[in-house]
């Protein structure tokens, strides 16, 4: 199962680059595992033997896998199983072929990403490694029965390499989860950050906080238009007090929102233009065109009330009731 390029956030970057796994990082990981040139040498010597036992190990490996119900679903048809077995064999043989460099890491990351993509749980992944190590132990031991110490060292070398693989694989799992969570979080924040609030009959309040980029402007406008229809709104107050900077792009988005609302018969008042924003806008030559703007939200609401024909009157001093009781 080759990794499709669409899965990558940027097809010009390798997985290793995306996940910040550099030559140095790889060296450091090997250092942690005490994986040195002598380990590499031992594994290379094992290569010819590996060719001999690979087939047998793989057969028993899949026999074990297919005995587990949850795993069967991953190998629905025979074609797939044959292909996966061939890949598995290549993977096993690669373990004893030397040059465990950044390209090796990239291959391993791809395998991890593929397994993550088909939702293979990590627990199965780990048990597969464990099975493999136990299965090859016997074969490695038989390569040189005269020197059990040496075969044990070879087995340890293999184990170190397997742990390097595991560390890379699990990183792909973590990285992918993190990206999913981040994407979901941003979605939720965006949803929450653009509420459309009915303020009075026929009036909606739309406070904007944070940056306005194209996707957000789009979502904001869509929300607003739906709310205009649902609430039969005639006047909208868009408050941009919480928008730190207004450049020509943001201004353009605002004008589009105002135009779209107007097409649905609603007037828009933009409030919260701070002195700083007014200054930068004029300096940059940004023109909001015919859009009605006011300084703060209070003015915005007062103007909107006037447009709707409301008149708000004060009916007494605040706390007058208390004063009365005291007297």
């Amino acid at each position: 199962m080759p990794l499709s390029s669409t899965h990558l956030p940027d097809k010009f970057l390798t997985l290793a680059e995306i996940m910040n796994i550099s030559e140095q990082e790889l060296e450091k990981r090997k250092e942690f595992l005490q994986f040195g040139p002598e380990d590499e040498e031992r594994l290379r010597r094992l290569a010819s033997h590996a060719e001999g036992y690979a087939e047998e190990v793989i057969e028993s490996f899949y026999e074990h896998l297919l005995s587990i119900d949850e795993m069967k679903v991953f190998f629905a048809d025979n074609d797939l199983l044959t292909r996966v077995k061939a890949r598995q064999k290549a993977y096993f043989l690669r373990l004893t072929q030397g040059s465990y460099d950044i390209e090796y890491a990239e291959e391993r990351l791809k395998i991890g990403a593929t397994h993550e993509r088909i939702n293979l749980p990590v627990k199965f992944y780990l048990s597969m490694y464990s099975f493999y190590l136990r299965a090859v132990w016997k074969h490695i031991f038989e390569t040189d029965k005269e020197h059990p110490d040496e075969t044990m060292m070879t087995f340890f070398s293999l184990m170190k390499l397997i742990f390097l693989d595991i560390s890379l694989t699990i990183d792909t799992y973590i990285d992918s989860r993190e990206q999913t969570i981040k994407a979901l979080q941003q979605e939720v924040i965006r949803e929450l950050s653009t509420p459309v609030l009915p303020f009075r009959e026929g009036m909606l309040l739309l406070p904007i906080i944070g940056q306005i980029d194209s996707p957000r402007a789009r979502q904001l406008t869509e929300h607003l238009l739906m709310a205009i229809r649902a609430n039969r709104a005639k006047v909208i107050v868009i408050d941009i007090t919480g928008v730190a900077t207004v450049d020509s792009r943001v201004a353009n988005h605002l004008v589009q929102t105002v135009d779209a609302a107007r097409l649905m018969g609603a007037k828009v008042v933009i409030s919260g233009i701070s002195p700083e924003i007014a200054l930068t806008m004029v300096t940059l030559g940004i023109d909001l065109g015919p859009v009605y703007t006011v300084g703060d939200l209070q003015n915005g609401i007062e103007h909107a009330e006037k447009l709707l024909g409301y008149r708000v009157e004060k009916i007494g001093e605040a706390g007058a009731g208390n004063n009365g009781e005291r007297m």
Partner: protein, 126 residues
């Protein structure tokens, strides 16, 4: 598809019933201008609620209807533009500048009446 033009007091209502070909639009434009003349109407409401597409040709026709009727002393309100249409229209730069727009037929007629009152035509004539 022919667009029926109904007379309602001083106002005309052109209620679009389904998707329109370009020729239907030009015919609507002609019919409207003639009907405004015949009934000496003060305003026209064009109801586009059922339209699910608004291309540049349709937008141009709506604008030119507005300008033509204005020359004849009547006002036009475009009513019932749906959220999706409004959004795609501004993206395409079709802003219908200079035309009155409102949410639905009821609001449209109320808006025309209010505009007439402002102009001081309130209770003159009939």
């Amino acid at each position: 598809m022919e667009v029926p033009i109904l007379k309602q007091g001083d106002y005309l209502i052109a209620s679009i019933q389904g998707a329109l070909a370009d020729s239907d639009l030009t015919r609507l434009q002609e019919n409207l201008v003639r009907t405004v003349r015949r009934h000496r109407s003060k305003g026209v409401v064009i109801d586009v609620t059922v339209l699910d597409v608004m291309d540049s040709f349709a937008a141009r026709i709506l604008r030119s209807i507005t300008m033509m009727t204005r020359l004849m002393g009547a006002k036009v309100a475009i009513v019932g533009i749906q959220p999706e249409i409004a959004f795609s229209m501004v993206q395409l730069g079709l802003k219908l500048d200079g035309t009155m727009t409102s949410l639905d037929l009821e609001d449209g007629i109320a808006m025309l009446k209010a505009a007439d009152k402002e102009d001081g035509f309130g209770n003159h004539g009939r």
